[in-house]
């Protein structure tokens, strides 16, 4: 009975973390929060892997004098999780660097607004008259044209170097 309960708790916890993280990533609007949700989803996947290698009444996979002939848990998923935790932190740092730069350029953390600005920027960079820009209320946020010009200017500078 208790083993059943423990399994349910553990698997439920891991799947819960993954689901909460993914729901967060797709529904949250703040890009800083999205990074947090991603971290949580990753933690859930890591927990799932460790659970996959667990068995009851076993000890940690470290050989000592007293551990001869004792049941041990699986070392392979643990090694995998070690790797994936460190990978996760690298990606997280890169994501935050991008958040900083996006905020610096667009002065907002709202993903919807960023997305809209992004498509207007792409449109104006390629010279397509945007349908979106006419929908934007004038005066509420800086108009896309000047920023787009800045960007082409930067691009040209990059090309000159």
């Amino acid at each position: 009975m208790t083993t059943d309960l423990i399994h349910w708790l553990l698997y439920g916890g891991a799947m819960g973390l993954i689901v909460i993280g993914i729901v967060g990533v797709v529904t949250l609007n703040n890009i800083f929060r999205i990074v947090l949700a991603l971290v949580i989803a990753e933690a859930g996947a890591n927990l799932l892997l460790v659970i996959a290698g667990y068995r009851f009444d076993a000890i940690a996979p470290i050989l000592t004098g007293s551990s001869v002939n004792q049941l041990m848990v699986d070392p392979v998923p643990q090694a995998m999780v070690l790797t994936s935790i460190v990978i996760g932190v690298g990606i997280q740092a890169l994501a935050l660097a991008l958040v900083l730069k996006v905020y610096q350029n667009y002065k907002t953390l709202d993903i919807r607004e960023i997305h809209q600005r992004l498509s207007t920027d792409i449109d104006s960079n390629s010279g397509v008259i945007s349908l979106l820009s006419s929908e934007q209320p004038a005066g509420e946020r800086p108009l896309p044209e000047p920023s787009a010009q800045n960007e082409t200017a930067q691009l040209n500078q990059g090309g000159d170097k």
């Binding site: 996959a52 998923p77 350029n105 997305h115 792409i122 390629s126 010279g127």
Partner: protein
């Protein structure tokens, strides 16, 4: 002293040392990258020439299911040759500042080779992550606000994908207790249940972020139109194919069940549908090409979902064709980056580029003498022979998509060949350097056209070899490295196979 592990180790080693090299000698830092790529090409070609039957190499010297193995057959070595070749073509020779982009490109080359060769599920995941992170850096290398925003969305989608893929790998591990692809193939019957199949679905959707598969390809148009054309060419041409390669390995070795094939078929059809329609609606060349790339990868997926050798043959042909055509077209957008109606007069300003564009566009549509026709014909044949109702639906979708494709590509061609204002024309002039690169791709395409028959035979052999599940498994378990010390239940299981 020729070992394929160099193809992964050498670029990584150079990338690690590049900051130090660049501090001491700027010119050495500029030359070492192409040199390493040439060396990689040499190693891969050496193996490619002497390979008679597939072999597996145990890294670290540990017997296959325990350690990590590299699987060397014609398909993986072909990719291992193509990776340095394309990288050499798209290398930023003109880049004089900084070593960071070169470093990222080398890491991309190393991880891509690892992804093509590896036959261990978690190792594939690690190389895939390395590939992702390197491509994030490259996508943001333009350093404009739009590029940062597009890369951020790319990173989030990709991060979501890797969580899903890792979950899938975890599920497979709970079902089989192993990570080696061949060993998983051996235990494939344990995966033919809801858990195993959803693991497959999770991995397909997860890895599919790079392969531009239908529900997770929102990043494609944004990244390709904000990154520099070289990077878009690399991502659309090479990286997407490697992700597809991982999916088909898993499919061939472990998931030869109708559910998995149908999943790929449906995702492929949705990809074709969505990609081609969006390409038709888009009004600038970069986004049109990005969406068309989604559509083309959908066709590749549909091809691989046809069971047996025919599907593999058609899939590999489609894949290689797209690998040549799409990077070339993206390279043309370096100077033709505006809206389609601003391309007027482009043919006047650089006629060679216009001719090259026509060749690639016609091949992409599948107009008869060109290789693209032949690849599409294989796919159509495969679909007709498969003859299930779902495959016939795919056939209808494919033919409709071809019509749409022809319409938007020809619409662009008409704009290119129409007269334009003189002032505008100047902007559309392609540099000789860029034209040379595109011409190289065109030469490859034409050589493929001339040698269609022997090439077809060779590809057919590759397809036969890589769709052979038993061969893959036996290859892995016949590696004779590292003596076993104790007999375990695992060994008994292995001996049963042999």
């Amino acid at each position: 002293m020729n070992n394929i592990a160099f193809n992964v180790a050498l670029p990584l080693l150079t990338a690690f040392l590049l900051p130090i090299i660049s501090n001491n000698s700027k010119s050495a830092a500029r030359f070492i990258g192409p040199f390493v790529l040439l060396a990689m090409l040499g190693f891969a070609l050496a193996y490619f020439n002497m390979l008679e039957h597939p072999i597996a190499i145990a890294l670290g010297g540990f017997r296959p299911p325990l350690g990590i193995t590299f699987h060397l057959d014609n398909l993986s070595l072909l990719m291992a040759c193509i990776i340095p070749l394309i990288m050499l073509l798209l290398w930023p020779y003109a880049n004089k500042e900084g070593y960071r982009e070169e470093s990222l490109l080398l890491l991309l080359a190393g991880s891509a080779s690892g992804l093509a060769l590896s036959s261990d599920l978690f190792n594939i995941y690690v190389f895939y992550e390395l590939l992702s992170v390197a491509s994030f850096g490259l996508a943001a290398a333009n350093r404009t606000g739009a590029a940062f925003a597009a890369t951020f969305r790319y990173l989030v989608m990709s991060g979501l994908g890797t969580v899903l893929a890792l979950t899938g790998i975890g599920l497979i591990y709970t079902q089989t207790g192993t990570l080696n692809l061949a060993h998983i193939g051996l235990l494939a019957s344990q995966l033919n249940n809801p858990v195993g199949l959803s693991a497959f679905a999770l991995i397909v959707v997860g890895i599919g972020v790079k392969a531009e598969i239908f529900p997770v390809n929102g990043w494609v148009p944004e990244v390709y139109s904000t990154a520099s054309p070289r990077i878009s060419a690399l991502l659309a041409g090479l990286i997407s194919k490697l992700a597809v390669l991982v999916i088909i390995r898993l499919l061939v070795v472990a998931y030869q069940v109708p559910e998995a094939l149908n999943l790929l078929l449906v995702l492929g059809m949705l990809g074709i549908f969505w990609g081609e329609l969006s390409a038709w609606r888009s009004r600038d060349l970069k986004r049109m090409l990005s969406f068309s790339s989604i559509g083309q990868l959908g066709m590749v997926l549909v091809a691989f979902s046809i069971p047996g050798e025919a599907g593999m043959f058609a899939g590999i042909a489609m894949m290689l064709h797209h690998l040549i055509v799409k990077p070339a077209l993206f390279m043309l957008t370096e100077y033709w980056n505006g809206a389609i109606d601003k391309l007027k007069g482009a043919a006047k300003s650089s006629p060679l580029a216009a001719i090259l564009f026509m060749i690639f566009a016609l091949s992409l549509i599948g107009v008869p003498p060109l290789p693209g026709f032949w690849a599409k014909l294989l796919l159509v044949n495969g679909l007709v022979e498969a003859s299930a109702s779902l495959y016939i639906t795919a056939l209808v979708v494919l033919l409709t998509a071809t019509v749409i494709e022809a319409h938007y590509l020809m619409r662009t061609a008409i704009h290119i060949y129409s007269k334009g204002k003189k002032k505008q024309r100047k902007k559309l002039h392609q540099t000789p350097f860029n034209l040379t690169i595109v011409s190289v791709f065109a030469v490859v395409l034409i050589v493929a056209l001339v040698t269609l028959a022997p090439l077809g035979n060779k590809l057919n052999k590759i397809a036969a070899e890589s769709s052979d599940r038993a061969l893959y498994i036996n290859t892995t378990f016949s590696t004779k490295q590292a003596p076993m010390r104790k007999q375990t239940s695992l060994d008994q299981q292995m001996s049963k196979v042999q």
